[in-house]
Amino acid sequence: MRLAKGISQLHQAEKDLADEYGRVADRHAVEHDVYHMCHLLAAQCESHAERLGPFAERYGGKLRDVDAPELWESFMGTVRRKNAELLGRSKHTGLLLLRDLRQLYLLAAETEINWWMVRQAAMAARDSELAELFETCHEETCNQLKWIKTKVKEASAQVLVGG
C-alpha cells in the first residue's frame, strides 16, 4: 500500500504552507490582520502535520523533519519584520502583499487536494480514524483558502486601481 506516500506528501504540504504563512506574516508585519491571522493559520497547519504522525507510522512511512534551523529562522524573521516596517509607508507593499497572497493560495490549494487523496485512500483502507481527521482538518484548510480569497478580494481594488 502506498498510503504512507500520500500521507507524507500531505505532511510536507502542510509544513511548507506553515512556513510560508510564517514568512508572509513577517514580510507584512505592518498589515496587522495579515500578521496575526498568518500566525494563527501557521499553527493550524503545524497541528494538522502533527496529527498525521501516527497515521504515517501506521502505514509504515516516515515523515521528514524539514524544520529549518530555529536560530536561522528567528534571525530571518527579524530581518523580514524590520524590512516590513521600513517599507511600511511605501506604495509597493500592496503589490507585494497580493503576490504573497497568491502564492499562499496555491500552496493551500495543494494542501487541500492532498487531503482529498488521503481521504479517498482512507475510505478504501477502511480507516475511519484517518477519514475523521480529514473531516476536521480539511474544513480548516478550506476556510484558509476562503480567508486568502477574502483578503485578495479586499486588497486587489486598492492596489491595482487605487494606487
Binding site: 496587522h32 511600511g88 509607508r89 476556510n143 480567508w147 479586499e154 481594488a157 486598492q158 487605487g162 494606487g163
Partner: protein
C-alpha cells in the same frame, strides 16, 4: 404612583423661568432617554426627563443631566480654520470649503475615488449619516467609509447579521421587566447605561427578583449584585461561552423542538462546544469550574432569559465569535421573540444604530446586502445613479484599514466628522504620525478643537445636539426626534448643511444630470431615507416627523403592518435569513473568511436563525516577564468617549477629573504601590502616568479609563509620558467585525512617586 422626573437647570433657575421646552432625547449613551431641552433667552439652560417616554419614564443619567453644559462652553469653534505655514488660523467658509473641494477634485482627477475616505461617528443624526452615505458612495464613489461605531458596536452589528440575517436588536427594554434571568457579559451597565441599570435594579431589589449572572474581570456594581460573578481572565470570553453551551447540551437544557424548527447549524456548534467541558474552560478562563457549572445551571434553567453584552465582548479577543455565542444561548434555550426572552447586542453610542442603518459605517443603507446585485440595483434606482458607481466589490473599508491606507499613502484625503481618533483609536503614537503626514489632507468637522482637529488641514465648526433637528435610534430600535432648540454659535453649521454645501460645490449629479442630493432640510432627508427602507427590516416608512412629535417615540419596523412600530422582532420566529432578503451571507468566525452567495444558499437558512461556533484561541499579546500585567480599558459613568463634551461640563468634569490606573491589592503589594501613588503604565507601544487606585479587580489585570486625552493641555498628544489609555493598546482587531481590541494588551507598572496624602482621582460611587 407619581412619576419621578429628573430635572437639571442652571443654578438659580426654576421651571417657571424657562421660556420654552423643546422635545429631544439624550445623546450621551445608547439608552436613548426622552428629554426636553429648557431654553431661556435663546440659550440652553437645562433638561428635563420626559415622563411619558417608555424608555426612561422621566429618569435621566448623570451625563444626560449635565452634558448640555458643553453646548455653552466658551471654547466652541465658531469659525472655520485652515492650516497656513504649519499653523491653524481662522478663515471663512468659502476659503475652507474651497480648499476641501479643490483637493477633492485634484485627487479624483489624478488618483480616483479610492484616494478619498470618510470617517464619521455615532453622535450625528440619521439625516446626516444618510446624506454623507449618498455623497460618499454615489457622489465620490469610494468604498472607504466608516464610523467610530467600528470601535463601539461593529461587533453587535456583525453578530446580529451572523445569527439572525440582519442587524437590529430583537427585543425591547420591557423584556428586562419580564425576564426571570439576566445574563450580562462584559456589560458594565451601571457605568454605560444608568437608566437601564435603574430598570434592572428595580427588578433586582423588587419582588420576584430575577437571577443575575455577570461576566467581568472587575467587581462592577452589576457584579456585586450578581448570583454568580465570573471574574474571568481578559480575552477568554469564548472559552467560557463554549463551556456554558457545552453544559446546556450535556444537561438537556436545549429546547430541541425550537432548535429543529427555527435554527440551522446545531450539529456544527455541538462538534465544537463539546470540546469545552467546564473544567477545560475554567482552566483557560482562570475561574473555578464550579462557577461555570453554576452559571450554566442558571442560564439552563431560566424560564425567561435576557442576555446582554457590550464592550467587554466587542472590544475583546474573538469578539464576534463570542457575541454570536451569546446569541446561541438564547437560541438553544428557544428564548427569543417573546416577552422576557431576548438577547441584547447593546450599542455604546446614542446614534450608532443610525450610522449602521444609513451606511455610514461600512454597511449598505437600509440593511441592503452588498453581495446581492438586486439590492445594489434597488439602491442605485433610489439614488438615480448607475449601479457601477456604488462600490460593491467588497465590504466597505473598515476604520483600521482606512488608517492603514492613509499610512501607506494610498488614501490622500481623510474627512473626519464628529469623532476623535487621536484619542480613541489604538496605538496612538502611530495614529498621530499617520494624521500628521504632509501628504494626507485631513478635514475635521467638530464643535471643538479636539486632539484630532489640532492635526487637521481644515477644521469645520459644527452645531451640536440642541442646535439642529434630526432623528436617532437607540439600542431597542426606538426612534426619537430631537428638535432644534437654539442657534449654533457664531458661524458654526450643522453637519447636514456642510455635506449638502460640499455636494453642491462638487457639482455631484445623478444619472440625469440633476443634483445628487435632492434635499436641503432634515425632514426631506428623513423622508428620502424612509422610502428606501420600505420592506426592509429597518422599515421607517410608516414614520414621519409629525408622528414622532405626537407619539414621542416609535420603534422600527413601522409600516402598514405595524403602524405604531413593533415592540419585538421575530415574534413569528421567522428570521431575516432568507438569501434574497438577508443583509449578509456571513463569515467563518475564526478567520473572518466571507461566504459567497452559493455557500449561504447551501446552508439553506430560509428564515431560520443560524447557530455558529468557533474554537477558542489565546489572545495575541499575552503577559510576559517584561510586561506581566494585562490591560483593559473602559469607562466611567461621568464621561463620554473622549470627553469632548463631558469634560466641558463642570459637574461631570469635577466628578471624574483625571485619569487613574486601577490595580488589584495583590499586584499593588507585590509592586510596592499604594493608593494614590503616581505610577507609569508601559506597554511595547507607549506609556502613561496616572495615580493608582487599589480596586476590586482580578489579579494580573490593570484598568485604565480611555476618556482622557490632551485637549485640555492644549495639545494633540503627550509631552513625555502620556495620559490616554490608547498610548498602550495594540493594533489588532477582530477578524470578522474588524473591531479593535482594547481589552488585551500586556503592560507593566512602575511607581513614579508616592501618594503624599493624595487619593486616586477615581469616582467612589461606581466601579
Amino acid at each position: 404612583m407619581a412619576v419621578r422626573v429628573d430635572l437639571q437647570l442652571e443654578e438659580g433657575l426654576g421651571e417657571q423661568d424657562v421660556d420654552r421646552w423643546v422635545q429631544s432625547a439624550c445623546v450621551l449613551c445608547s439608552h436613548g432617554c426622552g428629554m426636553d431641552i429648557a431654553v431661556k433667552n435663546d440659550r440652553i439652560v437645562g433638561v428635563r426627563g420626559r415622563a411619558e417616554d417608555r424608555i426612561n419614564r422621566g429618569r435621566l443619567g448623570p451625563k444626560g443631566l449635565y452634558g448640555w453644559q458643553a453646548n455653552n462652553a466658551a471654547d466652541r469653534l465658531t469659525r472655520p480654520l485652515i492650516r497656513r505655514d504649519g499653523e491653524l488660523v481662522e478663515t471663512d467658509w468659502d476659503t475652507a470649503l474651497g480648499a476641501v473641494v479643490e483637493r477633492s477634485r485634484q485627487l479624483l482627477a489624478t488618483q480616483g475615488p479610492l484616494a478619498m475616505a470618510f470617517y464619521t461617528t455615532g453622535q450625528l443624526f440619521l439625516e446626516e449619516y444618510y446624506t454623507q452615505a449618498v455623497i460618499g458612495m454615489a457622489g465620490i464613489g469610494t468604498p472607504h467609509m466608516d464610523g467610530n461605531t467600528r470601535l463601539c458596536t461593529a461587533t453587535a452589528d456583525q453578530a446580529l447579521k451572523e445569527s439572525f440575517g440582519s442587524d437590529g436588536d430583537p427585543g425591547c427594554y420591557e423584556d428586562i421587566n419580564d425576564c426571570d434571568t439576566l445574563f450580562l457579559v462584559g456589560h458594565n451597565v451601571a457605568e454605560t447605561q444608568t437608566v437601564m441599570w435603574m430598570r434592572m435594579l428595580d427588578r433586582l431589589h423588587g419582588p420576584d427578583r430575577p437571577r443575575l449572572v455577570v461576566v467581568d474581570p472587575r467587581a462592577t456594581p452589576a457584579a456585586r449584585e450578581a448570583d454568580v460573578h465570573l471574574a474571568i481572565r481578559n480575552g477568554t470570553n469564548l472559552a467560557l461561552l463554549n463551556g456554558i453551551q457545552h453544559e446546556l447540551i450535556a444537561n438537556g437544557w436545549v429546547d430541541h423542538g425550537f432548535v429543529d424548527a427555527h435554527t440551522v447549524g446545531f450539529d456544527q456548534i455541538r462538534k465544537i462546544v463539546t470540546q469545552y467541558p467546564p473544567e477545560r474552560a475554567a482552566a483557560i478562563c482562570g475561574v473555578p469550574a464550579t462557577q461555570i457549572h453554576e452559571a450554566a445551571r442558571v442560564v439552563g434553567t431560566a424560564r425567561r432569559l435576557v442576555s446582554t453584552c457590550l464592550q467587554g465582548v466587542y472590544q475583546s479577543h474573538q469578539a464576534t465569535a463570542s457575541a454570536v455565542a451569546i446569541n446561541n444561548l438564547n437560541l438553544l434555550r428557544g428564548m427569543i421573540g417573546r416577552p422576557g426572552c431576548t438577547v441584547f447586542q447593546m450599542n455604546g453610542q446614542p446614534t450608532a444604530q443610525n450610522t449602521r442603518e444609513c451606511g455610514a459605517n461600512g454597511d449598505m443603507p437600509a440593511f441592503l446586502n452588498w453581495q446581492n446585485p438586486n439590492h445594489i440595483e434597488q439602491l442605485a434606482r433610489h439614488w438615480n445613479v448607475d449601479p457601477s458607481v456604488i462600490p460593491h466589490w467588497f465590504r466597505h473599508t473598515h476604520a483600521m484599514q482606512i488608517f492603514r491606507y492613509c499610512e501607506e499613502g494610498a488614501i490622500r484625503l481623510l474627512w473626519i466628522s464628529g469623532t476623535n481618533p487621536a484619542v480613541s483609536l489604538p496605538e496612538l503614537a502611530r495614529i498621530r504620525s499617520i494624521l500628521a503626514q504632509e501628504r494626507l489632507f485631513v478635514v475635521v468637522q467638530d464643535a471643538f478643537l479636539t486632539e484630532t482637529a489640532r492635526l487637521a488641514d481644515v477644521v469645520l465648526p459644527t452645531a451640536l445636539w440642541g442646535e439642529k433637528t434630526g432623528t436617532f435610534t437607540n439600542a431597542d430600535r426606538t426612534v426619537h426626534l430631537s428638535e432644534q432648540a437654539v442657534d449654533p454659535p457664531g458661524e458654526a453649521r450643522t453637519d447636514l448643511e456642510i455635506w449638502i454645501e460640499y455636494a453642491r460645490r462638487m457639482n455631484l449629479q445623478d444619472a440625469d444630470g440633476q443634483p445628487l442630493v435632492k434635499w436641503s432640510a432634515p425632514e426631506e432627508a428623513f423622508d428620502h431615507f424612509k422610502r428606501l427602507t420600505q420592506g426592509r427590516p429597518c422599515d421607517y416608512s410608516g414614520m414621519s416627523y409629525d408622528k414622532l412629535r405626537t407619539q414621542g417615540q416609535i420603534q422600527w419596523p413601522c409600516n402598514d403592518q405595524h403602524p405604531d412600530g413593533a415592540q419585538r422582532l421575530y415574534e413569528d420566529l421567522v428570521f431575516n435569513t432568507d438569501p434574497d432578503d438577508c443583509e449578509e451571507y456571513g463569515h467563518d468566525l475564526t478567520t473572518g473568511a466571507g461566504n459567497e452567495e452559493k455557500d449561504y444558499r447551501a446552508l439553506n437558512p430560509a428564515g431560520r436563525a443560524i447557530l455558529k461556533a468557533a474554537d477558542y484561541s489565546p489572545p495575541h499579546e499575552l503577559p510576559t516577564e517584561d510586561y506581566p500585567l494585562l490591560l483593559t480599558t473602559g469607562r466611567t459613568v461621568y464621561h463620554f468617549h473622549t470627553r469632548t463634551k463631558t469634560g466641558r461640563s463642570r459637574r461631570l468634569q469635577e466628578a471624574a477629573p483625571e485619569v487613574w490606573v486601577e490595580v488589584s491589592a495583590t499586584d499593588a503589594e507585590r509592586l510596592g504601590i499604594g493608593e494614590g501613588d503616581l505610577v507609569r503604565a508601559e506597554s511595547r507601544r507607549g506609556s502613561l502616568q496616572g495615580r493608582a487606585r487599589i480596586g476590586d479587580i482580578r489579579r494580573g489585570v490593570v484598568f485604565v479609563p480611555f476618556h482622557y486625552g490632551y485637549w485640555d493641555r492644549q495639545a494633540s498628544g503627550p509631552d513625555g509620558d502620556g495620559r490616554a489609555a490608547n498610548e498602550l493598546t495594540v493594533s489588532d482587531w477582530d477578524p470578522v467585525s474588524k473591531q479593535p481590541y482594547f481589552k488585551v494588551a500586556a503592560v507593566r507598572l512602575v511607581r513614579v512617586e508616592p501618594a503624599d496624602g493624595q487619593q486616586a482621582p477615581a469616582p467612589e460611587v461606581t466601579a
